[in-house]
C-alpha cells in the first residue's frame, strides 16, 4: 500500500504511511475476535446441549417441564459466571499441577451458594431439582469452560463466554423442556396449551423421553445440516465432502 501511494504527492504519500504504521501496531491484536463473538459462540455454534453434548445429566434429568429447565439453566449460568470470573482472575496464580482441584473447589463454592439461595427463595423448584443442583459441581460443561477458556483468557472475555455458554445451555434445556412438557403433559409453563382431547404422551416426561427428545432434536438438526450441505453442493456444481 505504501509502495503504491508514496511516490506522486508527498502530502498524500505521508498519510497512508501513518495508517500502515498504525496497522502494524494493531496487527498482533487483530486475530482476537470481538467480545460479541465470545458471547454468541456459546449460544448457537458451540451450544453446550445441541452441539457439544456437555452436561448431559441435568439435560436429561430435569427437563420434564419448562420451569425446571429454566431454573436449572440459570443456576448453571450463575455458577459458570462466578467460577469463570474467579478462574480467569487468578489464572496466573493457580499452579498447573493442582489446577483441576482448584477449579472444582471454586465451582463447588458457587454451587453451594446457588443451592442455599434456591432453597431459601424458591423451595418448590429446589425440591423439584433435588440433587441435581449440587451436581452442577460435576457438570463437565463448567469444568470444560474453565479449563479450555477461562484459564487462558482475560476476565472480560471469560465473563462474556460464561454468559453466552450459560444462555446457550438455558436455551438447550428450555427447548427440551418445552417439547417434553407440551407432548407429555399438554401444558406449557403450567398453562394448558393442547386441546382437551389430547392424550398426553406420558413417556415423554418419564426417563426414556429425555433420551428420545434429545435424540430426535439432534437427528432433526443433522437432517437440516445435510439438506443445506446438499443444496450448497448442487449450486456451484461441485461436491463438498
Amino acid at each position: 500500500m505504501t509502495a503504491m501511494g508514496a511516490a506522486p504527492v508527498p502530502v498524500i504519500g505521508d498519510a497512508p504511511q501513518v495508517v500502515s504504521v498504525q496497522r502494524g501496531v494493531a496487527l498482533p491484536r487483530r486475530p482476537e475476535p470481538p467480545l460479541f463473538g465470545d458471547f454468541m459462540r456459546g449460544i448457537w455454534k458451540e451450544n453446550p446441549v445441541l452441539v457439544q453434548m456437555l452436561g448431559m445429566c441435568p439435560t436429561m434429568a430435569i427437563t420434564n417441564n419448562v420451569i425446571n429447565s429454566l431454573a436449572m439453566g440459570l443456576a448453571t449460568m450463575f455458577v459458570l459466571l462466578g467460577s469463570e470470573f474467579i478462574v480467569s482472575l487468578f489464572r496466573h496464580r493457580i499452579p498447573t499441577e493442582v489446577r483441576i482441584a482448584s477449579y472444582i473447589l471454586v465451582t463447588a463454592t458457587f454451587v453451594t451458594m446457588v443451592d442455599l439461595s434456591l432453597e431459601a427463595l424458591t423451595p418448590g423448584v429446589h425440591r423439584a431439582l433435588g440433587a441435581f443442583i449440587a451436581l452442577i459441581v460435576v457438570n463437565c460443561l463448567v469444568l470444560g469452560r474453565q479449563e479450555s477458556f477461562a484459564a487462558k483468557q482475560p476476565v472480560h472475555r471469560a465473563v462474556m463466554d460464561a454468559l453466552g455458554t450459560g444462555l446457550g445451555f438455558t436455551l438447550g434445556l428450555s427447548i427440551m423442556g418445552a417439547i417434553r412438557e407440551v407432548l407429555g403433559n399438554g401444558t406449557f409453563l403450567g398453562v394448558q396449551v393442547m386441546p382437551a382431547a389430547w392424550e398426553p404422551w406420558v413417556i415423554m416426561v418419564l426417563p426414556p423421553g429425555g433420551f428420545l427428545t434429545l435424540g430426535i432434536v439432534l437427528l432433526t438438526l443433522s437432517a437440516f445440516r445435510e439438506m443445506r450441505a446438499q443444496r450448497a453442493a448442487v449450486r456451484p456444481g461441485r461436491r463438498i465432502a
Binding site: V138, C140, G215
Partner: protein, 191 residues
C-alpha cells in the same frame, strides 16, 4: 437382610443410575464403543463408588455434623482424591487399560454418579452397611448399562445404517429404548 437386598436390587435395576436417574451419562455416551473397555470402566467406577460410599458415611458421621453447608465441597474433594488413587493403581498394574480409558479415567471424578451416590446416601440416611450395598448395586447397574450400550453400538457398527442415523442422535434413541426396557423393572415394587 431383606432391606439390604432391596437396596441392591433397587439401585441396580429399578432406579438404575444411568438409565433411570441419568447419572453418569458422559461415559455412557463417550466410552461405549467397545464392550471390553466399557465393562472395565464400569468396574473402575464401581470401585470408586464403594470407596466414596465409605468416605461419605465417615464424613457424615464424624465431620459434617457442625457444618452441613460444606457437604458438596467435602464430598468432591474426597472423590477427587479417591479417583487419583484408583488412577495411579490402574496405571501401575494395568497400563494397557490405562491407555484405553484415556481421558475418561480422570473424568470419573466429575462423573455425576459418584457425587450423586454420596448425596443420595446422606439424604436417605444410610448406615455403613446400607451405603456399601447401595454402592455395589449402583456400580453393578452402571457396569450393566455401559456393557449393554456398548454391545448394541458394536452391532450398529457392523450393519448398514443410513448416513443421517450415524452419530450421537441415534445413540440417544437407542439409549431411550434401553431406558424403556429398564422401566419394566419398576414393577418389582415401589422405589
Amino acid at each position: 437382610m431383606g432391606d439390604l437386598a432391596w437396596i441392591v436390587i433397587s439401585s441396580m435395576l429399578v432406579s438404575n443410575f444411568t438409565l433411570v436417574m441419568f447419572l453418569g451419562l458422559c461415559p455412557f455416551l463417550g466410552v461405549t464403543q467397545q464392550v471390553q473397555t466399557a465393562f472395565r470402566l464400569g468396574i473402575a467406577n464401581t470401585f470408586v463408588l464403594v470407596i466414596t460410599a465409605m468416605s461419605a458415611w465417615f464424613l457424615n458421621r464424624y465431620v459434617l455434623g457442625p457444618a452441613p453447608f460444606l457437604r458438596t465441597i467435602a464430598f468432591i474433594v474426597v472423590i477427587a482424591s479417591a479417583v487419583q488413587v484408583v488412577e495411579m493403581m490402574i496405571r501401575k498394574h494395568y497400563p494397557a487399560l490405562f491407555r484405553q480409558l484415556g481421558i475418561y479415567l480422570p473424568l470419573i471424578s466429575t462423573n455425576c454418579a459418584i457425587l450423586g451416590l454420596a448425596i443420595f446416601q446422606s439424604n436417605r440416611g444410610y448406615n455403613l452397611i446400607q451405603g456399601l450395598a447401595f454402592a455395589l448395586g449402583a456400580g453393578t447397574g452402571l457396569t450393566l448399562a455401559l456393557s449393554l450400550m456398548a454391545s448394541i453400538r458394536m452391532r450398529t457398527e457392523l450393519s448398514t445404517v443410513p448416513s443421517l442415523m450415524r452419530g450421537m442422535g441415534v445413540v440417544l434413541v437407542i439409549a431411550s429404548f434401553l431406558s424403556m426396557a429398564f422401566m419394566g423393572f419398576a414393577g418389582l415394587g415401589a422405589s
